[in-house]
Amino acid sequence: MAELVGAFAACHGPVIARDWQVLPENERDRYITAFERTGARLKACRPDIIVALSPDHWVNFFIDNMPAFCIGVGDEHDGPPEPFMADIFPHKTLKGDPGFAGHLLQTAMDSEFEPAFSHWLTLDHGICVPLWRLAVDVATPIVPILVNEVEGPMPVIRRCFSWGRLLRKAIGSYQPAARIAILATGGLSHSIGEATMGWIDEDFDRACIRHFEQSGEADIVRFLDEQLPKTGNGAHEVRNWVIAHGAAQSRGFELVDYFPSPATFVGAGFASWRV
């Protein structure tokens, strides 16, 4: 039987990649350490498969067809299309895992979830910046779940918790003896392309972290339902953390690091869950 061997969160801001060589030294050093510490934990789990949660940054989907959740079920996925990723993460394709992805999709359908699915996705910086900086072996198959966190209406937080439980159920019922890790990318607060662009809402971020550390599901739902509409648009990516939290069955959350990074416009959060 498969098992969930770890769940992790890592920031994915594109400016981390675009401006890596010119980031202020203090911010780059902090990123180096946070990614290294998170990456060490992830690699220590020896995952056979990584389920990667991310929004699609207008690479696969448009408003003519915008799925709330989409599972990448293909043998392969295209690597990142952003020009700034070409030199630092020069992978034209990344390996998928159609066996587990298909099982996850079927489990979702049997459980009355109806995600979209794709046999060929492009994985943008949302997934590939963490893979790059966490130094994940790119031979590890990736099962992407793309969550609409860029264009409203978006999945409600309670549903994201349900997705986390669904993911755990699918892992627990997968017959092959695979070691599966979850990588929740993105967040915490940031504001992109809107009147508050550049704003890092540290109050939101620190309250959010406290809730993951101390609160039950109902309190996290209440907090995020109230606060997400009041902060920058990038914070919607916290849904990926919620899915990871649900998959970890709220057994414990440990912050690896948090710091506001003005140069990359994000409140950079890194975490792991006891699973």
């Binding site: 940054h57 207008w58 690479v59 448009f62 408003i63 003519d64 299309p81 860029v150 264009e151 992109i192 392309g193 809107e194 009147a195 508050t196 662009m197 550049g198 648009n233």
Partner: protein, 90 residues
């Protein structure tokens, strides 16, 4: 209010380098192919961030002005200028 045609233009520009090159060379010709409304065309030609912002997703807006090579600090300054002054809504 989302402007579908404008959104489609920007979505395609950020995925198709050839189209982006064509757009740089002749914005009006590409806008015509996408049936961009006259008021929106004028805003695109003027790099009018404030007029375009309510019409398109914020991430697509950022992509667009990266394609237009507007310096990021200028883009941010124009976005910040859109903030309503304190008490202005009376």
């Amino acid at each position: 209010m989302t402007d579908y045609q404008l959104s489609k233009l920007i979505f395609d520009l950020q995925r198709q380098p050839q189209l982006a090159a064509e757009y740089s060379a002749d914005m009006e010709a590409v806008m015509e192919r996408y049936a961009i409304a006259p008021k929106v065309s004028a805003a695109l030609l003027a790099d009018d961030v404030a007029t375009l912002a309510p019409l398109v997703n914020a991430y697509l807006l950022r992509f667009y002005f990266q394609i237009r090579k507007m310096p990021e600090q200028e883009f941010i300054a124009r976005l910040h200028a859109m903030k309503q002054p304190e008490g202005a809504d009376g």
